[in-house]
Symmetry: C2
Subunit: 338 residues, 2 copies
Amino acid sequence: MTVFPSAVQAPPSAPEILDRCRELVRPALTEAVGRLHPWVAEMAAYSFGWCEVGGAPAAAPGGKGVRQALAVLGARAAGADGRAGVPAAVAVELVHAFSLLHDDIMDGDTTRRRRPAVWKAYGTGPAVLAGDALFALAVETLAAAPGGPAAVRLLSTALADLVRGQADDLLFAARPFDGPEGVTPEEYRAMAEHKTGALLGCAAALGATLGGAPEPVVAALDRAGRHLGVAFQLVDDVLGIWGDPAVTGKPVGGDLRERKKTFPVLAALGSPAARHLPALLDRPEEAAALIEEAGGRTAALTEARAHTAAARSLLTEVPPATADELLRLLDFLMARDL
Amino acid sequence: MTVFPSAVQAPPSAPEILDRCRELVRPALTEAVGRLHPWVAEMAAYSFGWCEVGGAPAAAPGGKGVRQALAVLGARAAGADGRAGVPAAVAVELVHAFSLLHDDIMDGDTTRRRRPAVWKAYGTGPAVLAGDALFALAVETLAAAPGGPAAVRLLSTALADLVRGQADDLLFAARPFDGPEGVTPEEYRAMAEHKTGALLGCAAALGATLGGAPEPVVAALDRAGRHLGVAFQLVDDVLGIWGDPAVTGKPVGGDLRERKKTFPVLAALGSPAARHLPALLDRPEEAAALIEEAGGRTAALTEARAHTAAARSLLTEVPPATADELLRLLDFLMARDL
């Protein structure tokens, strides 16, 4: 009853877990994308890094495949073979791709994984269409899987949360940093849970549902994934200010210059020391020092650790062998160069 | 077991059927939209004609509500109360609204029902988001309804067809009228079935499913709706060339000037008399005369009649009282000023 029959007894590392899950899921994902209209299928394949514009095969970097791995491990957490989670894995990877395509349009982001974003490469209208097609395909894939209505309900909740988080994120840009209309750290946390956590939680919960897990295990995995999402977003924010641009791929101080409402900034604004911070954001080095001095960095990392701990404690609901793999994945995702 | 208990014995007219179905569905549709993020809910309400930009109440023209009526009548065709079809009606109206929002972006259409399109009124990014939210809400609504996986499967098939039809429609614009790469009348028919027919068929089939209809009735209603969609699109094409602009709300010769691949044009090109037609499209009056002379108008209307007849014959699967209401609706939709 393991996904990865192997003579080797050493437990797989997180990158190995990700690789094996990707291999397990890839045929079904390829088959699903192949059912799309050929033009739309090309845009989808481009977004996964499988081809260039025009359709020539490529091996561009796709995502890490965290969501598909969570779905496979979710099925194993239910005591099932990882294969039972494959339709869930396909659905969540399709939803993730859909959300990247549409978010890049909304956010005006022109590149994604060091290539032109789909809307830059194919046009806005076609990218809207391709996103819609991936969304529809995700629902179709899950509706056709045994596991039925409960699975579709989980996915539709995550989709609604995803859209809600993106709406808040877009609206944050138009709101001030402080004052009565200011974005609060609590609003930020809710946005991050919806925008990033909901689909991670859904991935694991869906896998568990298809694997036949009892409701408490499904709910625990869903909540663990949501905590993981918030923690991940917080670490992302810290890296966006203090990370090495060569590693993050983001320009130094970009988030600050764009006046993004990130957690370290919002938390720093709770301290009187930081009251001039909003006026300083065009000078990222000074701003970063002030945020650190005002406790913004520490607050973000403390909050991230609290969410990681919450995710960990929820994994006590899961059989030890699978919990162990999930924890290794969690540690891997959190252990970026801070 | 009727939706509309009434002391009046005369059968309702098509506009009455549409009005009553709209009244029956409206509370559930309003409740569903109210569950959205407030900003997104406003865009959705604007698109339904319920409010102005900013949220002030309005009574702008919404759609005719054909899809919701088909869902309600679908439930009655199953021998159930029309109320059983309400979740289906809500889902298909949400999907229809989603597709209009995104299609207007893709097609660059700046007005919709004589008001600015959502993307013109709120921006492209927000309109993409609002469409996504309506899509997610449709799936959520149906997944929560009793009737479950079969209903979600029907909807996801229609969604996939919708996207496929829109992809073909967008690609037709870049293809020539004739020659080996030319769009064929058969490709046109498939596009219209996917883009317009799939959701009409799905509406009736979903209502029937929620009403507990046997599979052959569900399938017959689905196919009838698809034929209705093709017929409707053909009549639309004829009106786009020969209709009264005061009635259609479209500029005279607009479809011709935009070089749209409409059925009358494609059919006319089958005749040698029309070989210079593509060069003539900038002179809509001459082009319209040539298309008529080459048999394009007659071909479109003959084809529309064939699809209407096919839809009618499928309704023999449905109990007579409901079939009668469906036929009245069909006649009403087809009897536009030709």
